[in-house]
């Protein structure tokens, strides 16, 4: 039976790993991820969780160990933040190209220097092209539920790709909220034990994984390197469908739906919508409610999944809007917010496109209050009226 407790985002991730009955955990500590792996260590040492825990000497090794475990038939889990995640970068590519359905909790933290342990999304968004699915959670319950869902999607024979579940440092990681912890039995019904597509330890049927493939089909090989990469791409496109199916099934079973690729909030009659990721998406809904009371026709869109990118889903909403406020807790230096560029690219093919206002805000954990989001939305309404967009991307709340 499930039970409701009050706990932090990090413990929610640890409870999810336990509920998913992961076989192998390999992790290295980094603030603010630490309490995830401390809790898992406690579960294991108390005998409440039956997993092998490899206390590796770096995050690079954490991911390499997860890959080794995954190809040897185990369900693997890890967690990290910022510098740990970026140290893993090479192995993130290796994991997805291995088609290893590893699930990782990422607690988003700003990159140094200067040292900063608070939230922004540059660390995970810098891993955009590694082939990993990326989910961004707005609550502790969503962290828990998404880890369970992510294993289902990642291990699906039509997907077989890894997934990271991102959550904001401290705003969720160290903040307590009510959490319904599903029991292992309930979860197992939804997430059956992992069945690997092949097993590197099957010595009676030895396989070599990852040896050289030429650019063109050559010799006995019916495919070249490019075909392997196309299959990965196809797998992530399949994941779009699977994420929708799995979230629907999850809702039917457990009564909760955090959105599938995106979550739409009061957008049906809206003129303006604010797009955000992670914890700010929760606050955006609150701001929408306040402004609606005053008569603003405003809605909110949560980018729940960043890869595979919900291009069709965004187009479908955006074509009815006059303006989109894209609030980016990140920056691609020398250009603009990262989700803004993705959204603009998705909307380019539309005949009638909304105005896009991109705000760079909340970097390195700078507080973004409801009134800040309100000001961003008000700016969009002003522009609709005046028809003048002065700056495509603006750093919100900069001290000058």
């Amino acid at each position: 039976m499930s039970k409701i407790i009050i706990t932090t985002g990090n413990y929610s991730a640890a409870y999810a790993a336990k509920a998913a009955k992961v076989d192998v955990v390999a992790a290295y500590p980094i603030t603010p991820q630490t309490s995830i792996i401390e809790k898992i260590s406690e579960f294991i040492e108390r005998g409440e969780m039956k997993a092998e825990y490899i206390r590796v000497e770096s995050e690079h090794s954490a991911m390499a160990a997860c890959i080794g475990a995954s190809v040897a038939g185990a369900r693997a889990f890890t967690a990290t933040s910022a510098h740990g995640l970026t140290l893993m970068h090479e192995m993130l590519h290796w994991a997805s190209a291995t088609r290893a359905p590893i699930v990782m909790a990422v607690v988003n933290r700003a990159m140094g220097p200067p040292w900063n342990i608070w939230s922004d999304h540059v660390d995970s968004l810098s891993q955009r092209d590694t082939g990993w699915m990326q989910f961004y959670a707005e609550s502790n319950q969503e962290i828990f539920d998404t880890i369970i869902q992510a294993y289902r999607v990642a291990e699906d024979p039509e997907v077989k790709m890894p997934a990271m579940i991102c959550s904001d440092a401290f705003i969720l990681s160290h903040t307590s909220q009510p959490l319904e912890v599903l029991s292992e039995e309930e979860v197992e019904d939804f997430l059956p034990p992992y069945e690997p597509p092949f097993d590197i330890t099957d010595v009676d049927h030895p396989v070599t994984h990852g040896n050289i493939v030429w650019p063109e089909p050559r010799g006995d090989a019916s495919v070249g390197y490019m075909e392997f990469r196309y299959l990965m791409h196809q797998a992530l496109l399949n994941a779009k469908r699977k994420i929708k199916e799995v979230t629907k099934e999850f809702e039917k079973k457990f009564g909760r739906n955090h959105g599938d690729l995106i979550e739409k909030y009061k957008v049906d009659d809206a003129e303006v919508a604010i797009v955000s990721m992670g914890a700010l998406a929760a606050q955006a809904k609150y701001v929408v409610d306040l402004m609606r009371e005053e008569g603003y026709r405003v809605g909110a869109i949560k980018l729940r999944v960043f890869r595979p990118f919900p291009d069709e889903e965004i187009r479908e909403v955006a074509k009815r809007l006059k303006a989109l406020v894209v609030a980016d807790r990140n920056i691609s230096y020398g250009y603009k917010g990262i989700s803004a560029t993705e959204i603009e690219s998705a909307l380019y093919q539309l005949e009638k496109r909304p105005i896009i206002l991109n705000f760079i805000m909340g970097i390195g954990g700078r507080d973004v209050k409801p009134e800040d989001q309100r000001k961003m939305i008000e700016a969009a309404f002003n522009i609709i009226e005046t028809g003048q967009l002065e700056k495509e991307a603006e750093w919100y709340g900069l001290v000058r």
Partner: protein, 300 residues
Amino acid sequence: MTILGLPEEEYVMSGNAACPGCGAILSLRHVLKALGKKTVLVIPACCTAVIQGLYPRSGIGVPVLNMAFEATGAAASGVVAALKARGKKDITVVGWAGDGGTADIGIQALSGAAERKTDFIYICYDNEAYMNTGIQRSGATPYGAITTTTPILGKKEHKKDMPMIMAAHHIPYVATATPGYPKDLYEKVRRAKEMKGEGTRYIHILSPCPPGWRYDSKLTIKMSKLAVETGLWILYEIDHGKFKLSGPSKRFLDPSKRKPVEEYLKLQGRFRGLTDKDIEEIQRWVDENWKNIAKMIETE
């Protein structure tokens, strides 16, 4: 056991892409004979990553997980953990890496795996440079060797003592070997295999490389033996902390029995730039190494 007693099963298949006279593939052949079928290899970027052959075939008759350059120790840890989680007890996990992947870029993951008592065998086949990328200097390249990144002056530093670094991890077994002595190599791998369940076992194989060392490919065994006979490469094992010189190296504890290092150096093009002073320095280094070995034997 004599050399004729080695198992007839072959796990290194014909059609592999090794260079003629490759010391690495010869070593792997003996290693896999000792390990047998129930073996999983984890291989990082190194010559063997190419030697194994092209997709969809393999020149190696046991499962192979190819891995990133620096990650052998960590990926092997993952395989070992999965086997444990799944209750599979009869499979030996083996990291098989070159000197760059061991002494340089991979030392962190290896050290971590050994410190965690990861139940696997790690074998470094040491051809003394980054041979797969075209003979660049590594931490295991010997003093004076010309490589493509020490192209004129040669390397100015001596070889990193990797087996002793591993011995400092207090693992159950450390051994050195070279394919000129296949029986010695075979027995050491068997010994490491027998210690399954006890933690990390480390074997370091000096592995002559005709194109990298610049010698005629028919001379691989001769190079391997000369390395031992000059005392440049010392065959020993450290079994549960107990140091023991191996048969072929025993008599070279007596300095008068050792051949001058020049006999080994002069046959290899990589040492063509050595001055008399350099040769003296290498001889001094060899004699110094043996003094340390003698001290260890005395302490035993």
